[in-house]
Protein backbone atom coordinates (compact mmCIF):
# COMPACT_ATOMS: atom_id res chain seq x y z
CA UNK A 1 0.00 0.00 0.00
CA UNK A 2 1.38 3.37 -1.00
CA UNK A 3 0.30 6.14 1.28
CA UNK A 4 -1.11 9.26 -0.33
CA UNK A 5 1.93 11.53 -0.62
CA UNK A 6 -0.06 14.55 0.51
CA UNK A 7 -0.96 15.05 4.13
CA UNK A 8 -4.49 14.35 5.24
CA UNK A 9 -6.35 17.30 6.77
CA UNK A 10 -5.78 15.73 10.18
CA UNK A 11 -2.06 15.43 9.59
CA UNK A 12 -1.95 19.00 8.32
CA UNK A 13 -3.52 20.23 11.53
CA UNK A 14 -1.04 18.21 13.56
CA UNK A 15 1.86 19.66 11.59
CA UNK A 16 0.53 23.20 12.16
CA UNK A 17 0.30 22.54 15.88
CA UNK A 18 3.79 21.04 15.96
CA UNK A 19 5.32 24.02 14.15
CA UNK A 20 3.54 26.45 16.45
CA UNK A 21 4.77 24.54 19.43
CA UNK A 22 8.30 24.29 18.08
CA UNK A 23 8.60 28.07 17.93
CA UNK A 24 6.38 29.01 20.85
CA UNK A 25 9.35 29.50 23.15
CA UNK A 26 10.98 31.95 20.74
CA UNK A 27 10.38 35.36 22.29
CA UNK A 28 12.41 37.85 20.31
CA UNK A 29 13.93 40.76 22.16
CA UNK A 30 12.65 44.17 21.24
CA UNK A 31 14.15 44.87 17.84
CA UNK A 32 12.31 48.05 16.94
CA UNK A 33 14.95 50.38 18.37
CA UNK A 34 17.67 48.59 16.47
CA UNK A 35 15.69 48.78 13.26
CA UNK A 36 14.84 52.43 13.74
CA UNK A 37 18.39 53.38 14.54
CA UNK A 38 19.34 51.92 11.17
CA UNK A 39 16.59 53.70 9.27
CA UNK A 40 17.02 57.12 10.83
CA UNK A 41 17.54 58.84 7.51
CA UNK A 42 14.17 58.09 6.06
CA UNK A 43 13.95 58.11 2.29
CA UNK A 44 11.73 61.11 1.79
CA UNK A 45 9.15 61.02 -0.89
CA UNK A 46 10.37 63.08 -3.76
CA UNK A 47 7.57 65.56 -3.41
CA UNK A 48 8.71 66.56 0.05
CA UNK A 49 12.30 67.23 -1.03
CA UNK A 50 13.38 70.82 -0.67
CA UNK A 51 14.62 72.70 -3.69
CA UNK A 52 18.11 71.29 -4.13
CA UNK A 53 19.96 74.57 -4.20
CA UNK A 54 18.84 75.50 -0.70
CA UNK A 55 19.92 72.12 0.60
CA UNK A 56 23.19 72.18 -1.23
CA UNK A 57 24.12 75.70 -0.22
CA UNK A 58 23.43 74.93 3.40
CA UNK A 59 25.40 71.73 3.17
CA UNK A 60 28.36 73.49 1.57
CA UNK A 61 28.44 76.04 4.37
CA UNK A 62 28.18 73.32 6.98
CA UNK A 63 30.95 71.34 5.35
CA UNK A 64 33.17 74.37 5.15
CA UNK A 65 32.65 74.98 8.84
CA UNK A 66 33.66 71.43 9.65
CA UNK A 67 36.66 71.53 7.36
CA UNK A 68 38.05 74.78 8.70
CA UNK A 69 37.57 73.48 12.21
CA UNK A 70 39.97 70.66 11.47
CA UNK A 71 43.70 71.10 11.18
CA UNK A 72 44.58 70.42 7.58
CA UNK A 73 47.18 67.72 7.42
CA UNK A 74 48.63 66.36 4.28
CA UNK A 75 51.85 64.46 4.23
CA UNK A 76 53.87 64.70 1.08
CA UNK A 77 52.37 65.54 -2.23
CA UNK A 78 49.07 67.28 -2.39
CA UNK A 79 46.99 65.90 -5.23
CA UNK A 80 46.25 68.62 -7.74
CA UNK A 81 43.00 70.32 -7.06
CA UNK A 82 41.70 70.14 -10.60
CA UNK A 83 42.02 66.41 -10.97
CA UNK A 84 38.28 66.12 -11.24
CA UNK A 85 36.27 63.04 -10.51
CA UNK A 86 38.24 59.96 -9.64
CA UNK A 87 38.88 57.19 -12.07
CA UNK A 88 39.04 54.87 -9.11
CA UNK A 89 35.31 54.38 -9.21
CA UNK A 90 33.75 51.40 -10.88
CA UNK A 91 34.50 52.81 -14.26
CA UNK A 92 36.24 55.83 -15.62
CA UNK A 93 34.01 55.87 -18.65
CA UNK A 94 31.18 57.41 -16.71
CA UNK A 95 32.64 60.69 -15.59
CA UNK A 96 30.00 63.24 -14.90
CA UNK A 97 30.05 66.61 -16.49
CA UNK A 98 30.76 68.69 -13.43
CA UNK A 99 29.37 71.82 -15.04
CA UNK A 100 25.88 70.40 -14.82
CA UNK A 101 26.21 68.81 -11.42
CA UNK A 102 24.76 70.87 -8.58
CA UNK A 103 28.17 72.36 -8.02
CA UNK A 104 27.25 76.00 -7.88
CA UNK A 105 24.83 77.02 -5.20
CA UNK A 106 22.43 79.41 -6.80
CA UNK A 107 22.94 82.81 -5.25
CA UNK A 108 24.88 82.00 -2.10
CA UNK A 109 28.50 82.90 -2.42
CA UNK A 110 30.36 79.72 -1.46
CA UNK A 111 32.93 80.45 1.25
CA UNK A 112 35.76 78.95 -0.78
CA UNK A 113 36.19 78.82 -4.53
CA UNK A 114 34.66 75.77 -6.19
CA UNK A 115 37.43 73.75 -7.73
CA UNK A 116 36.41 70.54 -9.40
CA UNK A 117 34.22 67.90 -7.83
CA UNK A 118 35.07 65.56 -5.00
CA UNK A 119 33.89 61.93 -5.00
CA UNK A 120 32.16 60.82 -1.81
CA UNK A 121 30.73 57.38 -1.17
CA UNK A 122 27.63 56.90 0.94
CA UNK A 123 25.62 53.94 2.16
CA UNK A 124 22.19 53.17 0.74
CA UNK A 125 19.89 50.32 1.69
CA UNK A 126 19.26 47.76 -1.01
CA UNK A 127 17.56 44.40 -1.27
CA UNK A 128 20.94 42.92 -0.42
CA UNK A 129 21.60 45.07 2.61
CA UNK A 130 23.65 48.25 2.87
CA UNK A 131 25.71 49.05 -0.23
CA UNK A 132 27.74 51.99 -1.46
CA UNK A 133 26.60 54.73 -3.82
CA UNK A 134 28.69 57.70 -4.94
CA UNK A 135 28.03 61.42 -5.05
CA UNK A 136 30.17 64.25 -6.32
CA UNK A 137 30.39 67.29 -4.11
CA UNK A 138 31.63 70.68 -5.23
CA UNK A 139 35.26 71.11 -4.19
CA UNK A 140 35.83 73.77 -1.57
CA UNK A 141 39.54 74.18 -2.24
CA UNK A 142 42.24 72.47 -0.27
CA UNK A 143 43.00 68.79 -0.55
CA UNK A 144 40.20 66.73 -2.14
CA UNK A 145 41.14 63.80 0.11
CA UNK A 146 40.45 65.80 3.28
CA UNK A 147 37.16 67.09 1.98
CA UNK A 148 36.03 63.74 0.61
CA UNK A 149 36.60 61.72 3.79
CA UNK A 150 35.21 64.50 5.99
CA UNK A 151 32.08 64.62 3.86
CA UNK A 152 31.83 60.84 3.99
CA UNK A 153 31.72 60.71 7.79
CA UNK A 154 29.86 63.91 8.58
CA UNK A 155 27.99 65.49 5.69
CA UNK A 156 24.39 64.68 4.93
CA UNK A 157 24.30 63.30 1.40
CA UNK A 158 22.43 65.26 -1.27
CA UNK A 159 20.38 62.19 -2.12
CA UNK A 160 17.88 61.49 0.67
CA UNK A 161 18.08 57.75 -0.07
CA UNK A 162 21.70 57.68 1.06
CA UNK A 163 23.19 57.99 4.52
CA UNK A 164 26.44 57.85 6.42
CA UNK A 165 26.55 55.23 9.19
CA UNK A 166 29.36 57.07 11.07
CA UNK A 167 28.31 58.28 14.53
CA UNK A 168 27.55 61.99 14.92
CA UNK A 169 30.69 63.85 15.94
CA UNK A 170 33.06 61.65 13.92
CA UNK A 171 36.07 63.61 12.69
CA UNK A 172 38.79 62.51 10.34
CA UNK A 173 42.16 63.84 9.27
CA UNK A 174 43.71 62.41 6.16
CA UNK A 175 47.23 61.93 5.00
CA UNK A 176 48.66 60.40 1.83
CA UNK A 177 52.31 59.74 1.10
CA UNK A 178 51.75 60.44 -2.57
CA UNK A 179 53.32 57.23 -3.86
CA UNK A 180 50.38 56.31 -6.04
CA UNK A 181 49.12 52.75 -5.83
CA UNK A 182 52.26 51.73 -3.95
CA UNK A 183 51.67 54.37 -1.33
CA UNK A 184 49.51 54.40 1.74
CA UNK A 185 46.59 56.55 2.79
CA UNK A 186 46.28 57.24 6.49
CA UNK A 187 43.04 58.30 8.09
CA UNK A 188 43.07 59.47 11.71
CA UNK A 189 39.64 59.17 13.28
CA UNK A 190 38.38 60.77 16.47
CA UNK A 191 34.98 60.56 18.09
CA UNK A 192 34.53 56.96 16.96
CA UNK A 193 34.33 53.87 19.19
CA UNK A 194 36.66 50.97 18.53
CA UNK A 195 33.83 48.56 19.22
CA UNK A 196 30.61 48.36 17.26
CA UNK A 197 28.07 50.58 18.99
CA UNK A 198 24.78 49.08 20.15
CA UNK A 199 22.21 49.53 17.44
CA UNK A 200 24.68 49.47 14.55
CA UNK A 201 24.50 46.30 12.49
CA UNK A 202 27.65 44.45 11.54
CA UNK A 203 26.83 45.04 7.89
CA UNK A 204 26.55 48.79 8.50
CA UNK A 205 29.84 48.86 10.40
CA UNK A 206 31.64 47.01 7.62
CA UNK A 207 30.08 49.25 5.01
CA UNK A 208 31.08 52.37 6.99
CA UNK A 209 34.72 51.28 6.85
CA UNK A 210 34.44 50.42 3.14
CA UNK A 211 32.84 53.82 2.58
CA UNK A 212 36.04 55.48 3.81
CA UNK A 213 38.31 53.12 1.85
CA UNK A 214 36.48 53.72 -1.44
CA UNK A 215 36.21 57.47 -0.82
CA UNK A 216 39.89 57.88 0.06
CA UNK A 217 41.03 55.84 -2.93
CA UNK A 218 38.73 57.73 -5.29
CA UNK A 219 39.89 61.09 -3.95
CA UNK A 220 43.54 60.16 -4.45
CA UNK A 221 42.84 58.36 -7.72
CA UNK A 222 44.71 55.34 -6.43
CA UNK A 223 44.07 51.92 -5.04
CA UNK A 224 46.56 52.54 -2.25
CA UNK A 225 45.76 50.66 0.98
CA UNK A 226 44.05 52.69 3.68
CA UNK A 227 45.33 52.60 7.26
CA UNK A 228 42.77 53.61 9.88
CA UNK A 229 43.97 55.08 13.19
CA UNK A 230 41.93 55.97 16.23
CA UNK A 231 42.58 58.89 18.57
CA UNK A 232 46.15 59.29 17.39
CA UNK A 233 47.22 55.66 17.63
CA UNK A 234 46.89 52.38 15.76
CA UNK A 235 43.50 50.71 16.03
CA UNK A 236 42.89 46.97 16.11
CA UNK A 237 39.22 47.61 15.42
CA UNK A 238 37.08 50.57 14.34
CA UNK A 239 33.33 50.15 14.89
CA UNK A 240 34.19 46.53 15.62
CA UNK A 241 35.70 46.00 12.17
CA UNK A 242 39.29 44.68 12.21
CA UNK A 243 41.67 47.45 11.14
CA UNK A 244 45.07 46.26 12.39
CA UNK A 245 46.29 45.99 8.80
CA UNK A 246 45.84 48.66 6.11
CA UNK A 247 42.64 47.95 4.22
CA UNK A 248 41.92 47.22 0.60
CA UNK A 249 38.59 47.95 -1.00
CA UNK A 250 35.99 45.19 -0.95
CA UNK A 251 34.88 43.41 -4.10
CA UNK A 252 32.58 45.54 -6.27
CA UNK A 253 29.82 42.97 -6.29
CA UNK A 254 29.72 42.77 -2.49
CA UNK A 255 30.30 46.43 -1.74
CA UNK A 256 28.70 48.65 -4.36
CA UNK A 257 25.03 49.05 -5.06
CA UNK A 258 24.79 47.49 -8.50
CA UNK A 259 22.86 50.37 -10.08
CA UNK A 260 23.98 53.98 -9.93
CA UNK A 261 22.66 57.09 -11.61
CA UNK A 262 25.55 59.51 -12.10
CA UNK A 263 23.80 62.17 -14.18
CA UNK A 264 21.54 63.94 -13.49
CA UNK A 265 22.53 64.51 -9.89
CA UNK A 266 19.93 64.74 -7.15
CA UNK A 267 18.04 68.02 -7.52
CA UNK A 268 19.39 68.89 -10.97
CA UNK A 269 17.40 71.02 -13.38
CA UNK A 270 16.82 69.29 -16.71
CA UNK A 271 15.25 69.95 -20.11
CA UNK A 272 13.26 67.69 -22.40
CA UNK A 273 15.65 65.26 -24.05
CA UNK A 274 18.03 65.23 -21.08
CA UNK A 275 20.70 62.60 -20.88
CA UNK A 276 20.88 60.04 -18.11
CA UNK A 277 24.14 58.25 -17.50
CA UNK A 278 25.41 55.91 -14.87
CA UNK A 279 26.83 52.48 -14.25
CA UNK A 280 25.13 49.28 -13.31
CA UNK A 281 25.11 45.52 -13.52
CA UNK A 282 21.91 44.65 -15.30
CA UNK A 283 20.35 41.33 -16.14
CA UNK A 284 21.08 40.76 -19.83
CA UNK A 285 22.31 44.38 -19.87
CA UNK A 286 18.71 45.62 -19.94
CA UNK A 287 18.49 48.98 -18.23
CA UNK A 288 15.00 49.47 -16.83
CA UNK A 289 13.92 53.03 -16.05
CA UNK A 290 10.88 55.18 -15.43
CA UNK A 291 10.33 58.88 -15.06
CA UNK A 292 7.55 59.69 -12.61
CA UNK A 293 5.70 62.96 -12.38
CA UNK A 294 6.32 64.16 -8.82
CA UNK A 295 7.35 61.30 -6.57
CA UNK A 296 7.43 57.56 -7.15
CA UNK A 297 3.72 57.46 -6.43
CA UNK A 298 3.06 59.73 -9.41
CA UNK A 299 2.19 58.63 -12.93
CA UNK A 300 4.92 57.30 -15.23
CA UNK A 301 5.46 59.81 -18.03
CA UNK A 302 8.31 58.01 -19.82
CA UNK A 303 10.09 54.68 -19.48
CA UNK A 304 12.27 52.09 -21.15
CA UNK A 305 9.09 50.63 -22.62
CA UNK A 306 9.25 53.56 -25.09
CA UNK A 307 12.93 53.14 -25.70
CA UNK A 308 14.79 49.98 -24.63
CA UNK A 309 18.24 50.73 -23.25
CA UNK A 310 21.23 48.43 -23.04
CA UNK A 311 24.27 48.84 -20.80
CA UNK A 312 27.63 48.31 -22.46
CA UNK A 313 28.07 44.92 -20.83
CA UNK A 314 25.88 42.50 -19.01
CA UNK A 315 26.06 41.51 -15.39
CA UNK A 316 29.02 43.59 -14.28
CA UNK A 317 29.13 47.30 -13.39
CA UNK A 318 29.15 48.82 -16.88
CA UNK A 319 28.29 52.28 -18.20
CA UNK A 320 24.89 53.07 -19.64
CA UNK A 321 23.43 56.17 -21.16
CA UNK A 322 20.06 57.17 -22.56
CA UNK A 323 18.02 60.25 -23.23
CA UNK A 324 14.60 60.98 -21.85
CA UNK A 325 12.10 62.34 -24.34
CA UNK A 326 9.06 63.72 -22.65
CA UNK A 327 5.55 63.87 -24.03
CA UNK A 328 4.63 67.26 -25.50
CA UNK A 329 2.27 68.03 -22.67
CA UNK A 330 4.80 67.40 -19.90
CA UNK A 331 4.53 70.29 -17.48
CA UNK A 332 7.55 71.92 -15.88
CA UNK A 333 8.11 70.91 -12.30
CA UNK A 334 9.41 68.05 -10.22
CA UNK A 335 9.97 64.53 -11.55
CA UNK A 336 11.57 61.41 -10.14
CA UNK A 337 13.86 59.27 -12.23
CA UNK A 338 14.27 55.61 -11.26
CA UNK A 339 16.80 53.30 -12.88
CA UNK A 340 16.79 49.67 -11.85
CA UNK A 341 17.59 46.11 -12.66
CA UNK A 342 14.69 43.94 -13.68
CA UNK A 343 13.76 41.21 -11.27
CA UNK A 344 14.30 38.36 -13.72
CA UNK A 345 15.41 35.95 -11.06
CA UNK A 346 11.90 34.66 -10.58
CA UNK A 347 12.12 35.65 -6.94
CA UNK A 348 15.19 33.50 -6.49
CA UNK A 349 17.32 36.47 -5.57
CA UNK A 350 16.75 39.69 -3.72
CA UNK A 351 14.80 42.72 -4.74
CA UNK A 352 16.52 44.36 -7.71
CA UNK A 353 19.01 47.18 -7.23
CA UNK A 354 17.86 50.68 -8.02
CA UNK A 355 18.82 54.33 -7.80
CA UNK A 356 16.46 57.30 -7.89
CA UNK A 357 17.00 61.02 -8.44
CA UNK A 358 14.63 63.94 -8.11
CA UNK A 359 14.95 66.42 -10.98
CA UNK A 360 13.20 69.64 -11.92
CA UNK A 361 12.00 70.02 -15.48
CA UNK A 362 12.54 73.53 -16.70
Amino acid sequence: MTPDPDLTPGEQDRLRALLDEATADVQPRDGLDDIQSRTKVSPMSASSTRPWFLGTAAAVLATAAVITGVVMMNNGTTPTADQGPASAGPTSAAEPDTTTSPAEPDSEEPPVAVEGAVPVYYVGDTGQGPRLYREFHPGIGGAPLDQAVTDAVSRTPDDPDYRTPWPAGTQVQAGFDGNGNDGQIQLDLTGVPGERPAGMSKADAEMAVQQLVWTAQAATQTTAPVALRLDGGPATTVLGVPTAEPLARGAETDTLAQVWIIEPAQGATVEDGFTVSGVGAFFEANVAWELYRGGLDGPVVASNADDPVMAKECCTMAPYEFTVDLPDDAAPGEYTLRVHDEDMSGGEGFAPFEDTKTVTLR
Binding site: R14, L15, T23, G127, G347, A351
Partner: protein
Protein backbone atom coordinates in the same frame (compact mmCIF):
# COMPACT_ATOMS: atom_id res chain seq x y z
CA UNK B 1 -9.06 53.93 -7.64
CA UNK B 2 -12.20 52.10 -6.62
CA UNK B 3 -13.18 48.92 -4.89
CA UNK B 4 -13.96 47.93 -1.35
CA UNK B 5 -10.44 48.43 -0.06
CA UNK B 6 -9.81 51.78 -1.69
CA UNK B 7 -10.23 53.47 1.66
CA UNK B 8 -7.62 51.26 3.30
CA UNK B 9 -5.22 51.92 0.55
CA UNK B 10 -5.67 55.64 0.89
CA UNK B 11 -4.81 55.31 4.57
CA UNK B 12 -1.76 53.26 3.79
CA UNK B 13 -0.67 55.83 1.26
CA UNK B 14 -0.46 58.26 4.11
CA UNK B 15 2.08 56.04 5.89
CA UNK B 16 5.66 56.98 5.45
CA UNK B 17 8.45 54.42 5.64
CA UNK B 18 8.84 54.94 9.40
CA UNK B 19 5.13 54.33 10.02
CA UNK B 20 5.28 51.22 7.87
CA UNK B 21 8.17 49.85 9.94
CA UNK B 22 6.37 50.55 13.19
CA UNK B 23 3.02 49.13 12.13
CA UNK B 24 4.38 46.02 10.47
CA UNK B 25 6.80 45.48 13.32
CA UNK B 26 3.96 45.52 15.84
CA UNK B 27 1.85 43.15 13.81
CA UNK B 28 4.36 40.72 12.36
CA UNK B 29 7.80 40.90 13.94
CA UNK B 30 7.47 37.95 16.26
CA UNK B 31 5.88 35.74 13.65
CA UNK B 32 8.59 36.55 11.12
CA UNK B 33 11.32 35.77 13.65
CA UNK B 34 9.65 32.44 14.32
CA UNK B 35 9.40 31.76 10.61
CA UNK B 36 13.12 32.39 10.32
CA UNK B 37 13.78 30.12 13.31
CA UNK B 38 12.07 27.31 11.40
CA UNK B 39 14.49 27.95 8.55
CA UNK B 40 17.77 28.74 10.32
CA UNK B 41 17.11 27.29 13.78
CA UNK B 42 19.20 29.80 15.75
CA UNK B 43 16.93 32.50 17.28
CA UNK B 44 19.63 35.16 17.38
CA UNK B 45 20.40 34.70 13.72
CA UNK B 46 16.69 34.78 13.01
CA UNK B 47 16.32 38.13 14.76
CA UNK B 48 19.19 39.55 12.75
CA UNK B 49 17.67 38.26 9.52
CA UNK B 50 14.29 39.81 10.28
CA UNK B 51 15.75 43.14 11.38
CA UNK B 52 17.72 43.31 8.14
CA UNK B 53 14.51 42.57 6.25
CA UNK B 54 12.75 45.46 8.00
CA UNK B 55 15.59 47.84 7.21
CA UNK B 56 15.48 46.77 3.57
CA UNK B 57 11.71 47.18 3.50
CA UNK B 58 12.09 50.69 4.91
CA UNK B 59 14.50 51.51 2.12
CA UNK B 60 12.06 50.24 -0.50
CA UNK B 61 8.89 51.66 0.99
CA UNK B 62 8.46 54.14 -1.84
CA UNK B 63 8.11 51.34 -4.33
CA UNK B 64 6.00 49.14 -2.03
CA UNK B 65 3.65 51.71 -0.49
CA UNK B 66 0.98 49.19 0.45
CA UNK B 67 1.03 47.13 3.63
CA UNK B 68 0.16 43.92 1.75
CA UNK B 69 3.01 44.38 -0.65
CA UNK B 70 5.33 45.35 2.18
CA UNK B 71 4.41 42.24 4.15
CA UNK B 72 4.92 40.04 1.09
CA UNK B 73 8.28 41.72 0.58
CA UNK B 74 9.22 41.12 4.23
CA UNK B 75 8.35 37.42 3.97
CA UNK B 76 10.33 37.05 0.79
CA UNK B 77 13.29 38.92 2.30
CA UNK B 78 13.19 36.75 5.42
CA UNK B 79 13.15 33.53 3.38
CA UNK B 80 15.91 34.73 1.06
CA UNK B 81 18.08 36.03 3.86
CA UNK B 82 17.58 32.89 5.91
CA UNK B 83 18.69 30.93 2.88
CA UNK B 84 21.87 32.94 2.42
CA UNK B 85 22.67 32.73 6.10
CA UNK B 86 22.46 28.96 5.76
CA UNK B 87 24.60 28.97 2.67
CA UNK B 88 27.29 30.87 4.52
CA UNK B 89 26.96 28.45 7.36
CA UNK B 90 27.18 25.28 5.28
CA UNK B 91 30.81 24.60 6.08
CA UNK B 92 30.44 25.21 9.79
CA UNK B 93 27.22 23.22 9.94
CA UNK B 94 28.85 20.01 8.77
CA UNK B 95 29.69 19.77 12.41
CA UNK B 96 26.23 19.37 13.88
CA UNK B 97 26.02 20.73 17.40
CA UNK B 98 24.98 18.44 20.19
CA UNK B 99 21.28 18.72 20.93
CA UNK B 100 20.71 20.75 24.05
CA UNK B 101 19.98 18.34 26.89
CA UNK B 102 16.51 18.92 28.26
CA UNK B 103 16.58 20.94 31.43
CA UNK B 104 15.50 19.10 34.54
CA UNK B 105 11.91 19.97 35.26
CA UNK B 106 8.46 18.68 35.03
CA UNK B 107 8.11 15.64 32.81
CA UNK B 108 5.65 17.48 30.68
CA UNK B 109 8.18 20.24 29.96
CA UNK B 110 10.73 17.64 29.00
CA UNK B 111 8.31 15.97 26.64
CA UNK B 112 7.49 19.28 24.95
CA UNK B 113 11.16 20.28 24.74
CA UNK B 114 12.04 16.95 23.16
CA UNK B 115 9.21 17.27 20.70
CA UNK B 116 10.39 20.76 19.74
CA UNK B 117 13.88 19.52 19.10
CA UNK B 118 12.51 16.59 17.15
CA UNK B 119 10.36 18.83 14.93
CA UNK B 120 13.13 21.36 14.29
CA UNK B 121 15.56 18.54 13.48
CA UNK B 122 13.05 17.00 11.08
CA UNK B 123 12.70 20.35 9.30
CA UNK B 124 16.40 20.83 9.18
CA UNK B 125 16.82 17.43 7.54
CA UNK B 126 14.62 18.55 4.63
CA UNK B 127 16.15 20.05 1.50
CA UNK B 128 16.03 23.86 1.58
CA UNK B 129 13.08 24.34 -0.76
CA UNK B 130 10.97 21.73 0.94
CA UNK B 131 11.67 23.31 4.31
CA UNK B 132 10.65 26.72 2.97
CA UNK B 133 7.44 25.36 1.48
CA UNK B 134 6.52 23.60 4.72
CA UNK B 135 7.20 26.72 6.82
CA UNK B 136 5.22 29.01 4.54
CA UNK B 137 2.37 26.55 4.08
CA UNK B 138 1.90 25.23 7.58
CA UNK B 139 3.37 27.95 9.76
CA UNK B 140 2.25 31.08 7.91
CA UNK B 141 -0.75 29.38 6.28
CA UNK B 142 0.03 30.87 2.89
CA UNK B 143 -1.80 29.63 -0.19
CA UNK B 144 -0.02 27.72 -2.92
CA UNK B 145 -0.04 30.83 -5.12
CA UNK B 146 1.38 33.03 -2.35
CA UNK B 147 4.15 30.50 -1.71
CA UNK B 148 4.92 30.30 -5.43
CA UNK B 149 5.17 34.08 -5.44
CA UNK B 150 7.33 34.31 -2.33
CA UNK B 151 9.76 31.66 -3.55
CA UNK B 152 9.66 32.63 -7.19
CA UNK B 153 8.73 29.14 -8.34
CA UNK B 154 5.71 27.71 -10.14
CA UNK B 155 2.58 26.43 -8.42
CA UNK B 156 3.47 22.97 -9.71
CA UNK B 157 6.89 23.17 -8.09
CA UNK B 158 5.27 24.19 -4.80
CA UNK B 159 3.04 21.10 -5.05
CA UNK B 160 5.86 18.74 -5.73
CA UNK B 161 8.06 20.17 -2.95
CA UNK B 162 5.10 19.88 -0.60
CA UNK B 163 4.49 16.24 -1.54
CA UNK B 164 8.09 15.24 -1.10
CA UNK B 165 8.26 17.10 2.19
CA UNK B 166 5.08 15.35 3.34
CA UNK B 167 6.56 11.94 2.59
CA UNK B 168 9.80 12.80 4.39
CA UNK B 169 8.02 14.25 7.42
CA UNK B 170 5.77 11.19 7.69
CA UNK B 171 8.91 9.15 8.08
CA UNK B 172 10.82 11.49 10.37
CA UNK B 173 7.93 12.60 12.58
CA UNK B 174 6.08 9.29 12.49
CA UNK B 175 3.44 9.05 15.19
CA UNK B 176 3.70 12.77 15.98
CA UNK B 177 1.81 13.45 12.76
CA UNK B 178 -0.88 10.93 13.52
CA UNK B 179 -4.03 12.97 13.96
CA UNK B 180 -5.47 10.46 16.40
CA UNK B 181 -2.47 11.01 18.63
CA UNK B 182 -3.48 14.24 20.35
CA UNK B 183 -1.12 16.20 22.51
CA UNK B 184 -2.35 17.73 25.70
CA UNK B 185 -2.59 21.29 24.45
CA UNK B 186 -2.19 21.68 20.72
CA UNK B 187 -2.96 25.38 20.65
Amino acid sequence: MSGPDAGDRADARAWDADDAVEQLYAAHYRQLVRLSVLLVRDPETAEEVVQDAFVAMHGRWRSLREPDKALAYLRQAVVNRSRSVLRRRVVAARHVPEPVPPRPGADEDTVVAERRTHVLEALRALPQRQREVVALRYYLDLSEAQIADALGISNGAVKSHASRAAAALRTSLGPLLDSTHETEDPS
